[in-house]
């Protein structure tokens, strides 16, 4: 187990086209840490910097307080799982997995034992003598994981390891990888653009946007209390509207919104009365309630369109000048153009830090 620290790391492939900008990041020992972002955000570049295939233009990278910025990839003791698995087609599964032991001069019974243990861990022990070409995608993925784990690395790097698998296999591999990482006590850094993967597996997530860190936090925190519109949108469906801060209290603040005055939980950053900000509310947090009676933190609108999806419905509700998306679970039958009252719990009305 080791902790990873990045200080002021930048990288550009050609002058003027910056891929990573002055990144500071701390990854705790034993953590399953996710780098999440759309394609082209620099997450794979960051992973390749950690593996040593790239050198940063500026900044320093530490593994367990040791500066490894200029250490060659083959001396970093990281296990990496490549997006396309990169299994050597000319070697058997056994030889593939044993490779990291060969380079460390581990021979004989010890070598056999460690390979066997790695293959048992991914439940591939009966395939040891086969060649990679005879395995299915999921099996190749497991072997790639076993190969990266066999020499007991302190840091595991995973580059979209599940992106080549079908949806069903992906689901089962998610919990499998998490189980393996946790039982081996590994620090693992996992790159993906799939937010469901990140939400269901990560201890913490870093959201990357155009080479910059957007926000770092637990899955729940990033979903519930995003700091920026980018994070909010990337993590799930939401509605956005402009608000003005009216008064700031102890743990709530009162906002002037296009739908009337409403209370919201106080954000993590400083706000003062008169600030003009953007507020966010997730589609499932706009809760339709009994029409006609008065409710706390609620407003009324008109149902414009809806799509019935079985276990839930998505409604389009017009309120003021805005068209809001509402996700309702266990939905009753609703007629278009009927009135609807929407209620928001103050902690679900989130103030965003940008604009």
């Amino acid at each position: 187990m080791l902790n990873v620290e990045l200080k002021g790391v930048s990288k550009s492939y050609s002058p003027g086209k910056t891929v990573l900008q002055m990144l500071d990041l701390n990854i705790n020992a034993g953590e399953l840490f996710f780098l999440l972002g759309p394609s082209g955000c620099g997450k794979t570049t960051l992973l390749r910097l950690l593996a040593g295939f790239l050198k940063p233009d500026t900044g320093t990278i530490f593994f367990a307080e040791r500066d490894i910025t200029h250490v060659a990839p083959e001396r970093r003791d990281t296990g990496m799982v490549f997006q396309n698995y990169a299994l050597w087609p000319h070697m058997s599964i056994f030889d593939n997995v044993a490779f990291g032991l060969d380079t460390r001069n581990i021979r004989g019974d010890e070598r056999r034992r460690l390979v066997h243990e790695a293959l048992v861990l991914v439940e591939m022990e009966e395939f040891a003598e086969r060649k990679p070409a005879s395995l299915s995608g999921g099996q190749q993925q497991r072997v790639a994981l076993a190969r990266a784990l066999a020499f007991r690395p302190k840091l595991l790097l995973l580059d979209e390891p599940l992106s080549n698998l079908d949806a069903k296999l992906r689901d089962s591999m998610r919990s499998e990888i998490r189980r393996i990482c946790k039982s081996a006590g590994l620090t693992a850094i996992y790159v993906t653009h799939d937010r469901k993967e990140a939400l269901s597996m990560a201890d913490r997530i870093a959201i990357l946007n155009q080479g910059r860190l957007e926000q770092v936090g637990t899955p729940e925190h990033l979903y519930r209390r995003p700091l920026t519109r980018f994070t909010a949108e990337f993590m799930g469906q939401a509605n956005f509207f402009p608000v003005t801060v009216n008064t700031v209290g102890h743990d709530v603040c009162v906002l002037d919104t296009p739908f009337g005055t409403m209370r919201a939980a106080k954000p993590d950053f400083e706000v003062t009365a008169g600030d003009r900000l953007t507020a966010m509310v997730r589609t499932e947090c706009l809760r339709p309630t009994q029409e006609g009676t008065s409710h706390d933190n609620a407003f009324s609108g008109r149902l414009k369109a809806g799509s019935f999806q079985g276990e839930n419905s998505v409604w389009e509700v017009s309120a003021g000048d805005y068209l809001l998306n509402v996700l309702e679970a266990c939905p009753p039958h609703r007629e278009p153009e009927s009135g609807i009252t929407l209620q928001i719990t103050p902690e679900h009305l989130v103030l965003l830090g940008d604009q």
């Binding site: 593996a51 040593g52 295939f53 060659a72 990839p73 083959e74 001396r75 970093r76 003791d77 990281t78 296990g79 990496m80 490549f82 997006q83 396309n84 698995y85 990169a86 299994l87 050597w88 087609p89 000319h90 070697m91 490779f99 990291g100 380079t103 460390r104 060649k131 990679p132 070409a133 395995l135 995608g137 190749q140 190969r147 990266a148 020499f151 790097l157 080549n164």
Partner: protein
């Protein structure tokens, strides 16, 4: 269309049978008398020839690997100034058939050649560069400098096909540069190594022109050639041909068994982009220098040829002592020159047409209709690549003297045109078919189906969709067929027996044998040939780019 399809296969099979199967058969029958083979094998003169041929093949191949592997790796790893140039540079030696190169080679390395003149200039004693009368080293070096592009192109293609993550994975697991090369790169380029290496091995084993031109007659091919005049009475040349064939097949099988296994298909999905290491100015110049040195070394005989063509008198001096344009004029006015050019143009165009006429339908059959027996057809079409030209030529003479009917049709003594065309065609057919197949495989069938869906018949689809789409590949295949026919040596030397039927290569050989001005005229003639092939290869390179390497696989 249906009838064409039905008729095509028998025509193709008849062609292969008549111009490859039957000659191989007659050669084998005539030479396979055990008593003669044993007698030949126990004659020290022929023993030595076979051993020398094997030694030449081995040395040449080793030299080729040494020359071709480092630049291929440099090309694959690095980005440097002038990189776009180097592949064209590396093709330079293909411009000349090595036997013409041998002409220039002697001007440089001969005892009274340029190198010794330079040594003499600095008061140093002359060195016997060619290894005395033996000429063994000279033959290997000339052939290696001519043949290395075959391996180089194959290696560049093979290296480009390796997913970079395979190397990165090894690096991630702690493997250093040498271990990665030995355990990952080398095993993965093995098929390319095999594809290029086996051609070089067999080519140099059966090469006739170079040892003949250098006067090195202790090799099997030259011994066969010299035996041609006593063919009626002496069965030894046939026995030698059979031995050549057996050894070729043996070498090929051994190499295939050790290098050619194709069990390791790449399983990597979605090739990750290759990141080339960009070299700064000085290392870049060094790397470029590697390519330059190889090209210059390979181009030396050609430059000497050029100088020889312009020189009035060049003997024991660094540069010719006087210059002239006369040889270019003479080379065009000599009585056998112009007819030989016309002959070569005629033979080669006809051979090219035969190749296209058979090659396009064959490729369509192999790629589009994919019959179950397609591997058999593919092997049959590719077979001529592995059969030496000298064997084919001998087979033709043999079958004509054995079956009177064929002698009546082909008439090799009085007019060898048809046989020469077919000899050229059958050994170039593989290039055309491979090239056309590559084009068809890259063209989605749906484009043809769309035309069919809109009401086009089979021939219309072929004419308006298929042929235009693969035209680049067809042009390249045709160019290769034409150029290599123009510069074919073995068939030409053996089959063209009367001077009015001489093709270019035989004319150059005959000219070079004339004392006095003959060599210079031959040089001038060689320059014409060189310009010609340079143009074809440049055009092919532009049209096909890096895929060129795949043409030389079998």
């Amino acid at each position: 269309m249906k009838i064409v399809q039905k008729l095509f296969l028998p025509v193709l099979l008849l062609f292969i049978f008549l111009f490859m199967g039957l000659p191989l058969f007659t050669v084998t029958v005539q030479g396979l008398a055990p008593s003669i083979i044993i007698e030949t094998l126990s004659t020290p003169f022929y023993q030595e020839g076979l051993i020398n041929s094997l030694k030449i093949a081995l040395c040449t191949t080793v030299l080729v690997v040494i020359i071709a592997l480092p630049p291929a790796i440099l090309y694959d790893r690095f980005e440097f100034r002038g990189k776009s140039l180097v592949n064209v540079m590396m093709m330079v030696p293909m411009i000349l058939p090595p036997f013409v190169g041998a002409l220039g080679f002697q001007q440089v390395f001969g005892y009274y050649g340029v190198l010794n003149a330079i040594l003499g200039h600095f008061m140093l004693p002359p060195v016997d560069w060619l290894g005395g009368q033996e000429r063994f080293g000279a033959v290997c070096l000339i052939e290696a400098l001519h043949l290395y592009p075959l391996l180089y192109l194959n290696l560049v293609t093979a290296l480009a096909n390796i997913d970079p993550s395979l190397d990165e994975a090894a690096r991630n697991l702690g493997a250093g540069r040498w271990r990665r090369f030995r355990r990952v790169t080398l095993p993965l380029i093995r098929p390319g190594m095999f594809a290029g290496g086996s051609i070089v091995l067999i080519w140099s084993f059966t090469e006739l022109g170079t040892p003949l031109m250098l006067g090195y007659d202790k090799v099997t091919t030259v011994q066969i050639f010299n035996g041609i005049n006593e063919l009626e009475t002496n069965p030894v040349p046939y026995a030698l041909v059979v031995l050549l064939l057996i050894f070729s097949a043996g070498i090929y099988s051994i190499v295939r068994a050790t290098l050619g296994r194709v069990d390791d298909t790449m399983v990597v999905k979605g090739m990750s982009g290759k990141r080339l290491q960009r070299l700064s100015l000085l290392p870049g110049i060094l790397v470029f220098g590697v390519f330059l040195v190889i090209t210059l070394a390979a181009g030396l005989p050609h430059m000497a040829l050029l100088l020889g063509a312009f020189s009035q008198d060049w003997y024991g001096t660094i540069l010719p002592s006087s210059w002239t344009m006369l040889h270019f004029k003479n080379s065009l006015s000599h009585e056998i020159v112009v007819p030989s050019i016309i002959n070569s143009l005629k033979y080669s165009s006809l051979a090219m047409l035969v190749c296209l006429g058979l090659g396009i339908p064959a490729a369509l059959l192999l790629v589009r209709r994919r019959p179950r027996y397609r591997h058999v057809i593919d092997t049959l079409i590719m077979l001529p690549l592995a059969v030496p030209g000298i064997v084919v030529a001998f087979g033709y003479l043999g079958m004509c003297s054995r079956y009177q009917v064929l002698n009546y049709i082909f008439d090799p003594v009085n007019n060898p045109t048809l046989l020469l065309v077919m000899a050229y065609a059958i050994r170039r057919l593989p290039y055309v078919v491979r090239s056309a197949c590559a084009g068809l495989e890259q063209t989605p069938v749906s484009l043809e189906e769309a035309a069919r869906n809109l009401g086009a018949g089979g021939l219309t689809v072929l004419r308006r969709i298929t042929v235009p789409l693969v035209s680049a590949n067809l042009v390249v295949g045709a160019l290769f067929a034409f150029s290599f026919s123009m510069l074919e040596v073995s068939d030409s030397l053996i089959l063209a027996q009367k001077s009015i039927f001489y093709p270019v290569t035989k004319a150059i050989f005959e000219l070079s044998q004339i004392l006095g001005e003959g060599t210079y005229i031959a040089c001038a003639f060689g320059v014409w040939a060189m310009l010609f092939l340079a143009f074809s290869l440049l055009a092919a390179n532009l049209l096909l780019g890096r895929k060129m390497g795949s043409l030389f696989r079998f």
